[in-house]
């Protein structure tokens, strides 16, 4: 277990103008948008398809759909975070990803009240670096 002063690096990414973060240690790479192949009848509705990641077939989740944010077309800023899960690598489509941040465990605050919808369990908490508010993803929950 990490101690209270444990340092961690997180990747900051954006969805619909809001900032989110996840542990750098879980991110294998950050890719520009790649061609996706739709998977009909995929077990989750937020699966955008599969991509060819250097020869490996990798499933890709549209994080907007996963987190209940309104869908948007992909553009030049769109990135795929390749995240290591228990069942291998999975891509997360985000609007943009362009920052790294050092945080300490003590900085993580609970989710403010009023966000308790079905996506509530997908977050670890928030980091308040006024004026920036960063919502931390609970990666394993997203991958479940």
């Amino acid at each position: 277990m990490p101690t209270d002063t444990a340092q961690e690096k997180i990747v900051i990414f954006e969805l619909n103008g809001e900032e989110y973060g996840l542990e750098v240690s879980r991110v294998q790479s950050i890719e520009r948008m790649l061609p996706l192949t739709r998977v009909p009848g995929a077990p989750r509705p937020d699966i955008a398809g599969v991509m060819n990641l250097r020869g490996k077939i990798t499933p890709v989740i549209d994080l907007r759909l996963c987190l209940g944010v309104e869908a948007a077309p992909y553009d030049k800023q769109t990135r795929i975070l390749v995240v290591l899960g228990n069942d291998g690598a999975v891509g997360f489509i985000v609007d943009r990803a362009n920052d790294l941040l050092d945080i300490t465990e003590t900085e993580i605050e609970g989710i403010p009240a009023g966000r308790e919808d079905e996506t509530y369990g997908l977050f670890q908490g928030v980091i308040n670096r006024d004026p920036r508010i960063i919502t931390l993803l609970e990666t394993d929950k997203v991958l479940q």
Binding site: P35, T37, V39, P40, I57, P59
Partner: protein, 653 residues
């Protein structure tokens, strides 16, 4: 780490020896006086003992030593073998196997072996030694004619022949590694002519702590000692120049061969190496990427129309086809790796059930891809148990039916076209198909009116329906709720097809058709709107173009006539809810149809266009997308995009 490498080697070889003992004990039981078979079992027990002792698995060494004693008695007094004795030795082999399994799972293989020791001891007149004795090594070497010649010539060329006796520290863990280092150190300064125990034995750590090599070099005894003492964990080195001894060769010539040589002498070693399976998988992955790039290169060459480039690419393609054959070949293993474990199981199950059964195995050298071999063991066990339990009758029933009281279960494998077929057949009671139909109706699996139109094979196929069970009573062997449907699913997940045929009173035959290899398949790429899908050629009966007027409708289902019957037509657009491509909307009164087959049932799949035949590398979609309907995997096609491969089995109703 090196330690775990040796452990893995120990486990692999230990299992091989267990298998070898099982095989030969079974043969010996049929032919108890055959000395060569006894020797073979003895050899395995002996080697296992040596390996276990050197890896410090004490219980294992003690038990194998006790087995050796029993076998030794047999060897000296052939004919003394009793059924009871075989039971005890088999039990001991089982214990050995469990100990090796325990070691494989990280244990130290220790277990209570006293009951086994007591039983084995009772079978021998002599006392069972409580500690494992290891092979004694005769220290001075003897040379055959060839070796003599080499030594003589080396003297003529100014080399000095030595006999070097090296003793390792008693605490040395990785003895084989030290041996290797010693040999390497020596190799830099001369040449090793002979070793005792032989090199293979040394590599298997089949020696106590001391070994002797014959070595030719220009170095002096002192220099060689210095070199060898540089290798850690070498306790002592004795070096003797044998120039003089060579002169009196005749005296040594007839010297008795050492104990160890007697056991290895017969084994003609093939020039093989063991390769870690992971490395083979890596090689396969790299080759798969190569194939994808090859496709891209071929297309590029085609569009550039440069003759030199085209020729080079063509040559490369041919080479990579050969390369593919070699790599796939490397992954092939004979099915005997799975078949081997069945005779013991059949012996046990038939004893438990009070049935007399002869097991025959054919075609065990037939080869299959390793990844398939790994999966077929359990379902085959199920089929065999099924044959013994439900197929073969009790001896008295067989006699009453005018049959030989001993039933036969035959397991055979053969290679045909691009498939391997495995059959489990028995000469038992067969299967009453009408009874099957009635059971299926009463269990709600089929409707009564369906039964009237069913063909005989379709009726037999009911055995594999999920939820179907014919077991009249729950026996210990099968009928435990896990039915043949699991067997069918396992084989189907490997791209296999299971079928059954039977003749009441004569027996039944379960046949499994399996692909040779899983990873590279021939596929027909097809286009549906803007999407590309692959359909394995093995599933395709034929492709055709039909006119709109060929399509009929019955029960809200589109059907076409194919080979005299009506078969359902599925539009992949609907099955996969493919979004309409924009722009391209011109109307055509013709459809491209692919007829796919599952058993005896056909279905027509409608697509927009056939793209062509391609050799593709089938890749898994991963656990994350495992449950996707009618998709068995994906492949990367020439332009780097991913095409999904359709599991047609899921589409044929």
């Amino acid at each position: 780490m090196a330690q775990s490498n040796y452990l893995q080697l120990f486990i692999d070889e230990g299992r091989e020896h267990v298998q070898n003992m099982n095989d030969h004990l079974l043969q010996l039981e049929k032919n108890p006086t055959a000395l060569p078979i006894i020797e073979e079992v003895f050899r395995s027990a002996h080697t296992l003992k040596g390996m276990a002792a050197s890896m410090e698995f004490q219980d294992l060494a003690t038990l194998t030593h006790a087995m050796e004693n029993v076998l030794d008695v047999l060897r000296n007094e052939t004919g003394k073998a009793t059924s009871e004795m075989f039971d005890e030795v088999f039990n001991a082999v089982d214990a050995v196997e469990e100990m090796i399994d325990d070691i494989a799972e990280g244990g130290n293989g220790s277990r209570d072996i006293d009951p086994h020791l007591a039983h084995l001891k009772a079978l021998t007149s002599e006392d069972v030694d409580e500690t494992a004795a290891t092979v004694e090594i005769t220290q001075s070497l003897s040379y055959d004619e060839f070796e003599q010649t080499v030594l003589d010539q080396s003297v003529e060329q100014g080399y000095t022949p030595y006999e070097i006796t090296i003793t390792l520290d008693a605490s040395t863990l990785l003895k084989a590694a030290r041996v290797h280092m010693a040999f390497q150190a020596l190799g830099d300064h001369g040449e090793v002519i002979k070793a005792s125990p032989p090199v293979e034995e040394l590599e298997e750590e089949n020696f106590e702590h001391t070994f002797t090599v014959a070595f030719i070099s220009t170095k002096s005894i002192e220099e060689l000692k210095a070199i060898l003492y540089n290798v850690s964990e070498i306790a002592s080195v004795e070096i003797e120049a044998i120039t003089d001894r060579l002169m009196q060769r005749e005296e040594n010539f007839e010297q008795e061969e050492s104990d160890t040589e007697r056991f290895t002498g017969k084994n003609e070693t093939k020039r093989t190496i063991k390769i870690n399976v992971e490395r083979l998988d890596t090689l396969m992955n790299l080759f798969e990427e190569w194939i994808v790039d090859r496709g891209r290169l071929e297309r590029t060459a085609q569009s550039l129309q440069n003759q030199a480039l085209t020729e080079t690419v063509e040559r490369m393609s041919r080479i990579s086809t050969d390369l593919q054959a070699v790599i796939l070949n490397m992954r092939m293993m004979p099915v005997e790796n799975v078949f081997n474990r069945f005779p013991r199981m059949v012996r046990k199950v038939s004893k438990d059930l009070g049935k007399k059964i002869k097991m025959e195995i054919e075609g065990e050298k037939t080869e299959l891809d390793r990844s398939i071999i790994d999966e077929i063991g359990d379902p085959l066990v199920h089929l065999l148990r099924n044959s013994i339990d439900h197929g073969i009758e009790l001896p008295e029933h067989r006699l009453a039916a005018g049959k030989n009281e001993e039933g036969t279960v035959r397991l055979s494998a053969y290679h045909s076209d691009n498939h391997v077929y495995i059959q489990v057949s028995d000469d038992g009671a067969g299967i009453d198909k009408e009874k099957l139909v009635n059971k299926a109706i009463s269990q709600g699996i089929i409707a009564e009116e369906d039964a009237k139109t069913m063909t005989a094979p379709e009726k037999y196929q009911l055995l594999f329906s999920s939820g179907f069970s014919t077991a009249e009573e729950i026996t210990d062997v099968s009928g435990r709720g896990v039915g043949l449907d699991v067997v069918r699913q396992t084989f189907e997940s490997l791209g296999g097809v299971v079928s059954v045929d039977a003749e009441p009173g004569q027996g039944s035959v379960f046949s499994v058709q399996l692909p040779l290899t899983l990873s590279i398949i021939e596929a027909l790429l097809v286009q549906v709107e803007n999407e590309t899908y692959g359909i394995p050629i093995s599933a395709i009966t034929e492709t055709m173009i039909i006119s709109e007027t060929d399509i009929h409708k019955t029960y809200h289902q589109e059907v076409i006539e194919f080979r005299g019957t009506l078969i359902p037509l599925l539009f992949l657009h609907d099955v996969f809810q493919v979004p309409k491509a924009v722009g391209d909307s011109h109307y055509e009164p013709f459809y491209d149809v692919i007829i796919v087959q599952k058993g005896k049932r056909y279905t027509g799949l409608v697509v927009d266009a056939f793209i062509g035949h391609h050799e593709v590398v089938l890749k898994s979609l991963g656990n994350f997308l495992l449950e996707t309907f009618a998709i068995s995997g994906a492949t990367v096609i020439g332009d780097g995009e991913v095409a999904l491969i359709i599991d047609t089995n899921a589409l044929v109703k």
